[in-house]
Symmetry: C3
C-alpha cells in the first residue's frame, strides 16, 4: 500500500457551526468542543437504549470502504440499522476493482443518488473532502489518508470522558506510528480541542510526528512533547494510547524487529504507572499489546470498541437532523 506523503495543509481554525444537520464529517478539527459535548450527550443516551429505534426510518446509508476495515464498517452498519436505516455497502474485491477503474467522482455521484448519507473510507489523503464537495448528501469520513479518522477520534475522546469524567487535565501518552497512523493523529488533533495537562508522543525515529504538524499543535497551545522511551513517563500517564507499528514502514526488516520490541506494552510496563492508568487502542491489534493486558484493569480498548456503536449512532442522528 502506498500513501500520499504530501502534507495536507492543516486548517486548525475552529469553525463555528451551530448545527450538525446535513454536515460533512471530514476531520475532527471541523468540530468545536461544544459540538463534541452535544455528540457525547447523545451517545450517553444511546448507550442506555437496547434494540432498534426508528429515528432514521426510510433513510439509506451507504458504506463505501475502498480500504478494508471490518470494525469501523460493522460498527457503522450496526449503528445505522439500530436507528432504523437501510444500509448498502461497497466492500472487498468489488471496492478494490472500483478503486482501480472507475473515477471516484462518478462513484460518489452514484452513492449520492441512491442514499442519504455516504460513509467513505479511502486510502488517499483528502478523498473524503473531495467526496463531500461532489455529494449533496452528507459524507462521513471513516478514515482517509494518514491524518484523518474523525469518528475514531470521537470514540476515543468519548471513551476517555466515560472513564475519567473529563478529557481536560489528564496526562496522555500516544505510542506508536505518528507518521502514517491516522487514528493516533486524529486523537491528537481531537485533544487539541481540549486542555490536557500534558501530551507525550513516543514513536520510532522513522515514524515520528511530522515537524510541521508538531509546530502547529504547539502554536495552538497543546502541551505536546516528544519522548524516546515510554518508560520515562509512564508513571505520569492517565491514558496510554497505543497504535500498531507496521512492518511495511521499515525498509530494513532488522530495523523493524529492533524497534518493535521497544514498543510492546506489557503488564510489567503498566505496573510502573498509576493504578488508574488506562490503555486505549483503536484496534485491530496484532502483538503490540501483550495478551496478559487484555484481561487486566488497564485494558480500556474493548470498552472503546463497544462505544463505537453509540457514538456512531449519535453522529448519524445528528447529521440527519434528528433530535432526541
Amino acid at each position: 500500500m502506498f500513501y500520499s506523503l504530501q502534507i495536507v495543509a492543516l486548517d486548525l481554525g475552529i469553525k463555528m457551526i451551530t448545527s450538525f444537520k446535513n454536515r460533512d464529517v471530514v476531520s475532527i478539527l471541523d468540530f468545536t468542543r461544544e459540538e463534541l459535548e452535544t455528540l457525547f450527550e447523545y451517545a450517553d443516551k444511546f448507550r442506555k437504549v437496547e434494540g432498534k429505534l426508528n429515528l432514521l426510518n426510510g433513510k439509506v446509508v451507504s458504506l463505501a470502504f475502498f480500504e478494508p476495515s471490518t470494525r469501523t464498517r460493522l460498527s457503522f452498519e450496526v449503528a445505522a440499522k439500530r436507528l432504523g436505516a437501510d444500509v448498502v455497502s461497497i466492500i472487498g474485491e468489488e471496492a478494490s476493482s472500483i478503486a482501480k477503474g472507475e473515477n471516484l467522482a462518478d462513484t460518489i455521484r452514484m452513492l449520492d443518488a441512491y442514499s442519504n448519507i455516504i460513509i467513505l473510507r479511502h486510502r488517499y489523503e483528502g478523498a473524503a473532502k473531495y467526496a463531500a464537495e461532489i455529494a449533496e448528501n452528507p459524507v462521513i469520513n471513516a478514515g482517509d489518508g494518514i491524518q484523518h479518522h474523525p469518528t475514531q477520534a470521537m470514540i476515543d475522546l468519548y471513551t476517555v470522558k466515560t472513564l475519567f469524567g473529563s478529557i481536560d487535565g489528564l496526562v496522555y501518552v500516544v505510542l506508536g506510528d505518528l507518521r502514517y497512523g491516522r487514528a493516533a493523529m486524529s486523537f491528537i488533533y481531537g485533544l487539541s480541542l481540549y486542555k490536557p495537562k500534558k501530551l507525550y508522543v513516543v514513536a520510532p525515529q522513522l515514524l515520528r510526528i511530522r515537524n510541521e504538524v508538531l509546530q502547529i499543535l504547539k502554536e495552538r497551545g497543546l502541551p505536546i512533547e516528544e519522548k524516546n522511551d515510554v518508560r520515562e513517563i509512564i508513571s505520569e500517564a492517565d491514558v496510554l494510547y497505543v497504535t500498531r507499528i507496521q512492518r511495511e514502514r521499515f525498509p530494513d526488516p532488522m530495523e523493524y524487529e529492533k524497534v518493535r520490541g521497544s514498543y510492546i506494552v506489557t503488564l510489567d510496563l503498566l505496573e510502573k504507572g498509576k493504578s488508574t492508568l488506562k490503555v486505549l487502542h483503536p484496534l485491530p491489534k496484532v502483538d503490540e499489546i501483550d495478551h496478559k493486558v487484555d484481561t487486566s484493569r488497564y485494558a480500556a480498548y474493548y470498552l472503546q470498541a463497544r462505544l463505537g456503536v453509540p457514538v456512531r449512532m449519535s453522529l448519524l442522528s445528528l447529521v440527519s437532523g434528528v433530535e432526541i
Copy 2:
C-alpha cells in the same frame, strides 16, 4: 473474460402478456410498448416518493451477481429495500468461486428456495433464461452474455421519455461497442419497440453490430443505419448513447489506441450538434467521455443512473403483483 460468441436466435415476436405478475424478465424484447408504458407510469409515481414503502414487506429478494456490477447491484438493492423487502446477496469472491465450482442449476434452486425474486447477473449468454426455466419464482436478468440487459434498457428508454416527453420521432446515435456491449444492444432492441425517426450506429470495425442482428432489426422496420464517423451525423442527433470500448477486445494494442481516439466524446463534438442534444451512458465510464461534458447541459447520464432506482422499484412491484 470470455464470452460465448455464438449468436443467440433472436425471438423478436412481440409477446402478449397482460400482466407483469410472477413474470421472468429475460430480454427487453419480452415486453410490449404498452407494458413499458405501464412500467414508466409506475416509475413516475415512485420518483415522487421519498423514504420507505411497505409494498414488498415480508418478501426476500436475492441478488446473484456472478459478474460484478456495483451500480446495477446497488440500485436493485436500494429499490428492493425501499419497497420493504429484505435482500440477500452473492457477490465478489464468493460469486467467482461458485461460478467456478457449483453448477448454476443448484445455485438457482437454492435461491429459489430462500427468496421470492432472483436477480441474476452472469457472463454467459442465456444464463437468465436458463435460470428462469429452473426457478419457480421470477428471475430478473441484470445482464447476461453480450446482448441482454433488459432493466438497463428500461432505464434508458425511461430517461429518454423523461427528457423528451416521448421515445418516438427522435434521432438516435449509438456509439461504441455494438458487438459485445449488451447495454447498447438492449437499448437498440428496446428502440425497436418504438418508432424512432432514425437510428445511427457507429462502431470500430472489430466491434460492429452483427450482420444477422442488423438484418433482423431492419426487417422489423427499425430505421437503422451504420456510419463510420459520429461527426457525420452528430448535427441530426437528439440522443447520443455512448458505451465503453474495452482494450481487451483488440488483439493489437496499437489498433486499440488508434480506435479509441476516434470514439472519445468531447464538448467540441457535442457543440456541433443540437443545443438540446443529450448524452446517455450506462456507466461506469472510463475516458470515453471527456470530463468537461459531465457538468455540461449535454450530460444526461447522471440523471439516467438516478432513474435506476424508481424504474427498478416499478419492475419489482409489478413482478410481485403489487398495484399502486
Copy 3:
C-alpha cells in the same frame, strides 16, 4: 487448505439442559433427543409461515464466515431476517484477511459487542467452542474443523423425520469422505442420539472414519458397520447420505480418479434399492450424484436445502428465548 488432524476428544455424554435460551451451539452432541424434538416442532410451525415475523425485532445477528459457504450463510441470513433481526456479515476477502491477521479472540469480542448472536464458520477444529468461551452472547457453530456442523445435522435429521415420520428404525448408508467431512460426521453423531436400525458407512481407504471415533460410536450402541462397496447394501437402505470426495485429499491424482468412479451415485445404483429410498446431500455437490437423479423420486437434497431456513429460524428463536 489445511485442517488440524489432531483428534478432538469426543464428549459423548448427554447433557441435560432444559432450555435453549442463550445457549451456545457447538456440536450436535450437546443436544438431547428431546431438545431436538422441540426444535423440530418449532420448525414444523415455521414451515407453515410465509413472510416476515417480528420475533427477533431489535436483535442483531452477526455472520462471521471465515471459511466460505454460500448456502449455510444465506439460509442463516434469510432465517434471521424473516424473524425480524438485523444481520451484519464478515465474508469473502475481508474474512480471509482477518483470518490471516487479527486474533480470533478480538474479532469475537467485537462481534459480541455489536450483536446478540454470533454465527461462526471457521476451518479450525474447536474455533466455535473457543469463541463460545469468549463471547457473552450465544455462538452458533456453522461448521468448524472436520467434525462439527451441528445445524447441518439438525436439518438432515429433520429432513429424515419429515420424509419418514421418524428417525428411529431406519437403515442409513453414509457415503463419501468420513475423515474430513464434517457434515457426514455430524449427521452420524446426530444419529447416535436416535435408534437407527442400521448405519452403514462407506468410504475410500484414505477417507475412512477414524478408528477412535468408530469405537466410541459402537460403545454408545450405534449399530454402525463399515462396508467397502455401496452396492452390497443399497437394497437395505432407507436413507443414502452422500458427501463430496475432494481431489485435494489424495496425494496421487490417479488414485483420486479411480476412487471417484466408485463413489458416483447413479439412477442405476438407486434402482437396485427400495422404491422409497431417499438420497440426502448437504450440498453443494459437484459430480458425485449423476444429474439424472436430481429430478428423480430419490432426490431429497433440494427439500433438505429448503428446510435449512425453518430449522435455522427455530434455532435462532429458541436461542433468543422466544416462545411460539
